[in-house]
């Protein structure tokens, strides 16, 4: 076993998220590479949720099906996780409560109540895993004390004691050979950070000069909004929770007009309400940055689940023709760079840029090396106006220099009606109206020239090519590694629109094309067909609201190779 898959499952509000945070930190401190993701129901208490942690000495960044150690706090975990529990899964918990013969009995609840609070089960669990993994006992206990310090000495002590009990049980289980874990010991310690998809987008936005956020709460899009609020003092970000999504997008467009760099973060249903606002950005050639964390629809759908189902919406939303760019990061590095780039490109081309993530990605923690801050910069493409300034002057490139009201002596006039070079309403149909339509259309080519090249993962001389976008990156990469077929590679698009000009040739090099998407119909496949005429030989689609696991991808891919 060169890595370990640990899963905790409990009700909402039972605190398993705190286990996630503490365990990750402890394991990382010890030198392990870690990964964690969560899946949860749309409720605040009750139900059944789980967190999945992977620990390894090598990089580990994908969601796997198998569970090595399962700590269920509730009986419901068994049916909830039935597809992931195998004969090899070690299950640790309150045997009586769980009513399951296979369970290695640890009386979490009793220990916790002994220390005075049922919530201490979480510290017991942290201690237990630390013991199993043979982490440094003092480090563990001190760390727990530090974490709880702000809640007062007593609570800190009690938690540490609960953890200590867990720790002992853990070492005991190992020493008594009841549990044998064959895990590597990390040799070097990397100077990495635990960064969630949310953090990566928020940091990238800050790096890109994002100075305000207009949003209306909606899971899972709220995550980025909340992160920006958290850093608002440090980074100087104006945070405004709007009355609805329509206000958010209109405030954002107007904010850009007035010189700021707003972001909007939402999910499919909220974005649906921004359709007219997208079109406003298109007509006024306004920069705009919208982050959509996707979840399954239609309508309210499954609010806390994941899907790559909003690509079509992002592609076609807004009436009328206008250019846009759509990013879909699959790694924290890409998320950081693209979120930063979104602001610069939105400003450069005066277009809406959409960043498509999903619940899985924003809620997953990856250990990530420090982002390269030398590469990033804030490019403000604005000009100081003079008396003759014309906001929509026709230029060769289609881009007109963008002024800001109050910066220079010119008038900056922006109109949602068809307008002339001054931004004033016109009905000169065959004159300036057509010229404006063509001007806006022209920019699509310009954006295309700067599209991100899709990343090839695997052999250059591939014969089987798996095409993917967004958050499935790591799962497919690990599946390819494990299948270990020298002719199979992945082409991953972190920009899904406009497609990079090499797309067609890269696809045509392959003999077999396999599409992997976390949605019902293969929306990206449709886009590729439309733009290149290329059909896929196989489509691997999942749409039950959960991310692909490495194992099921391996199976599906092998099946079609």
């Amino acid at each position: 076993m060169n890595d370990l898959s640990i899963v905790l499952s409990g009700e909402a509000g039972q605190g398993i998220n705190s286990v996630e945070k503490v365990l990750l930190a402890l394991l990382k401190k010890t030198g392990y590479r870690v990964y964690a993701t969560k899946e949860y129901m749309s409720r605040v208490r009750g139900g059944v949720n789980s967190i999945s942690i992977r620990v390894s000495c090598d990089e580990v960044k994908a969601f796997v099906k198998h569970i090595d150690i399962l700590i269920p706090f509730e009986k419901a975990a068994f049916s909830h996780l039935k597809d992931r529990i195998s004969d090899e899964t070690i299950i640790i918990g309150d045997k009586k409560k769980l009513e399951n013969e296979r369970v290695i009995d640890v009386s979490f609840q009793q220990i916790a109540t002994e220390f005075g609070n049922a919530l201490y089960v979480n510290s017991v669990a942290v201690g237990l895993v630390s013991g199993l993994m043979n982490l440094n006992r003092n480090e563990v206990l001190n760390f727990i004390k530090d974490i709880f310090a702000k809640k007062g000495d007593e609570i800190a002590d009690k938690n540490a004691q609960a953890a200590e009990s867990g720790y002992e049980i853990g070492t005991n289980l190992v020493s008594k050979k009841i549990i044998t874990l064959d895990v590597c010991k990390p040799e070097t310690k990397l100077d990495n950070f635990m960064i969630s998809g949310t953090d990566a987008i928020a940091l990238g936005a800050i790096a890109g000069g994002c100075d305000c956020a207009f949003a209306y709460p909606m899971s899972p899009g709220t995550s980025v909004f909340t992160a920006l609020a958290t850093y608002s003092h440090k980074a100087g970000i104006l945070i405004e929770q709007t009355e609805d999504e329509i206000a958010a997008v209109n405030m954002a467009v107007a904010g850009w007009y007035a010189g700021a760099r707003p972001i909007v973060s939402t999910s499919g249903g909220g974005f649906a309400l921004m359709t007219e606002g997208m079109s406003l950005a298109g007509m006024t050639e306004s920069p705009l940055v919208i982050h959509i964390a996707q979840r399954p629809g239609p309508a309210t759908g499954l609010p806390t689940r994941t899907e790559q189902g909003d690509l079509n919406l992002a592609l076609y939303t807004g009436h009328g023709v206008f250019p846009r760019a759509i990013y879909a990061p699959g790694t924290t590095q890409q998320a950081f760079e693209l979120a930063c780039r979104a602001f610069n490109h939105a400003d450069q081309y005066q277009i809406p840029v959409i960043i498509l993530t999903d619940q899985y990605f924003v809620d997953t923690f990856y250990d990530t090396p420090a982002f390269d801050l030398d590469k990033i910069k804030i490019d403000r493409h604005i000009v100081k106006t003079n008396d003759n300034y014309q906001r929509y002057i026709i230029t060769d490139s289609g881009v007109s220099p963008r002024g800001i009201p109050g910066f220079g002596s010119g008038f900056v006039c922006s109109d949602s009606d068809e307008h002339d070079e001054n931004g004033r309403i016109t009905e000169d149909l065959d004159g300036i109206c057509i010229a404006m339509k063509n001007k806006r259309f022209k920019k699509i080519e310009l954006i295309k020239e700067n599209s991100c090249r899709p990343e090839l993962y695997g052999p250059e001389n591939y014969e089987n090519l798996i095409v993917a976008w967004g958050s499935t990156y790591h799962m497919i990469a690990e599946a390819i590694d494990k299948i270990n077929n020298s002719k199979t590679a992945m082409l991953h698009f972190s920009q899904v629109y406009p497609l990079h000009k090499d797309t067609e040739s890269l696809l045509k090099k392959s003999k077999k094309l396999i599409l992997v998407e976390n949605n019902q119909t293969g929306q990206f496949g449709d886009l590729i067909k439309l733009e290149t005429g290329i059909n896929f030989d196989h489509k691997i689609l999942k749409y039950n609201g959960m991310m692909f696991t490495v194992e099921e991808l391996m199976d599906s891919i092998k099946e079609v190779l």
């Binding site: 990382k28 950070f193 635990m194 960064i195 953090d199 940091l203 800050i206 790096a207 000069g209 100075d211 305000c212 850093y231 003092h233 440090k234 980074a235 100087g236 104006l238 405004e240 709007t242 009355e243 609805d244 329509i246 206000a247 209109n250 405030m251 954002a252 467009v253 107007a254 904010g255 007009y257 007035a258 010189g259 700021a260 760099r261 707003p262 606002g277 406003l280 006024t284 420090a370 982002f371 801050l373 990033i376 403000r380 604005i382 800001i404 009201p405 109050g406 910066f407 220079g408 002596s409 008038f411 900056v412 006039c413 922006s414 109109d415 949602s416 009606d417 931004g423 004033r424 309403i425």
Partner: protein, 286 residues
């Protein structure tokens, strides 16, 4: 700049001859001139409608956005660029109908913007359907049996939302309208000026004559600082009171309430960020 300088006379004005919008345009330009505004410090905002075409007809920067969305746009512009004076001119349908939710929440938000609503009690640009302020019984091609919905009372609602500057005028009272607009611009916070305006093409009921016959100007004895009295006043009809209905100095505007702008009015576009901030935040994710 004097009034002439504010008016853009190079464009073909799309309003009907005799439309009250012309009058308001003149009054607003005079108010700008009287206040000695500089052209670089003004930004006008509107939605879509006949009234909302107004910004086109001045020499000014403007943001002529979507139908119903004048207020969020105006508020955002002021919030990120507080050096600008932001003035909205839009229609009763735009601000109270399609834009109703923004009316509520921007009064709550209290950004320092001035909102002039051209209240012609009709949808002008779309050719004469009822607006939220159309009076009971008003027949139109859609309301064939006459309006049955309670007319929207912008003043009462604004007062109940905690607005701190609520005024009512009529385009036939030029001086009063100008004075109210000037005060509104000078007021710190959301300032509403709802102005009766005649749509000569589609509202044959609420004409200039009707405005003359059905309004009166509040006397000096009226105290606009008493909220309850102001509410009561805002309910009066036939005649409708014109003037400053309610005013309070009890609040400061949005930007003054947030730390970022506490001692620093610099617009966001002139602020710079040190990339060390990102390092610092990242450190917290160790």
């Amino acid at each position: 700049m004097d009034k002439k300088d504010w008016l853009n006379n190079e464009v073909d004005i799309a309003w009907c001859p005799g439309c009250g919008d012309f009058g308001l345009r003149n009054i607003v330009a005079e108010a700008y001139a009287d206040l000695g505004l500089k052209k670089e410090e003004l930004c006008m905002v509107s939605g879509i409608g006949q009234a909302a075409k107004s910004p086109q007809y001045y020499n000014t920067s403007y943001f002529n956005g979507l139908h119903g969305r004048a207020l969020p746009a105006a508020a955002a512009i002021k919030m990120v660029n507080p050096e600008l004076k932001v003035l909205v001119q839009s229609g009763d349908g735009d601000v109270y109908g399609e834009g109703g939710n923004h009316f509520i929440h921007n009064i709550r938000r209290n950004a320092d913007i001035t909102v002039i609503v051209h209240d012609n009690m009709i949808y002008g640009l779309t050719k004469g359907q009822a607006s939220p302020t159309s009076q009971l019984g008003h027949k139109t091609p859609i309301q064939v049996d006459g309006v049955i919905e309670e007319p929207f009372n912008p003043l009462a609602v604004a007062i109940s939302l905690g607005a701190t500057f609520v005024a009512k005028s009529s385009v036939h009272e030029k001086e009063l309208t100008k004075e109210l607009i000037k005060q509104a611009i000078q007021h710190d916070g959301f300032a509403l000026v709802d102005v009766f305006q005649s749509c000569v093409s589609f509202n044959k009921i609420n004409t200039n004559q009707w405005f003359r016959d059905n309004t009166y100007i509040l006397g000096n004895d009226y105290d606009p600082t008493n909220k309850i009295k102001a509410f009561e006043k805002s309910l009066e009809r036939e005649p409708w009171p014109l003037g400053l209905i309610y005013k309070s100095d009890s609040k400061v505007s949005y930007n003054k309430n947030i730390p970022m702008f506490e001692n620093d009015n610099t617009p966001l576009y002139r602020r710079n960020r040190d990339s060390s901030v990102i390092k610092e935040i990242m450190e917290s994710m160790k």
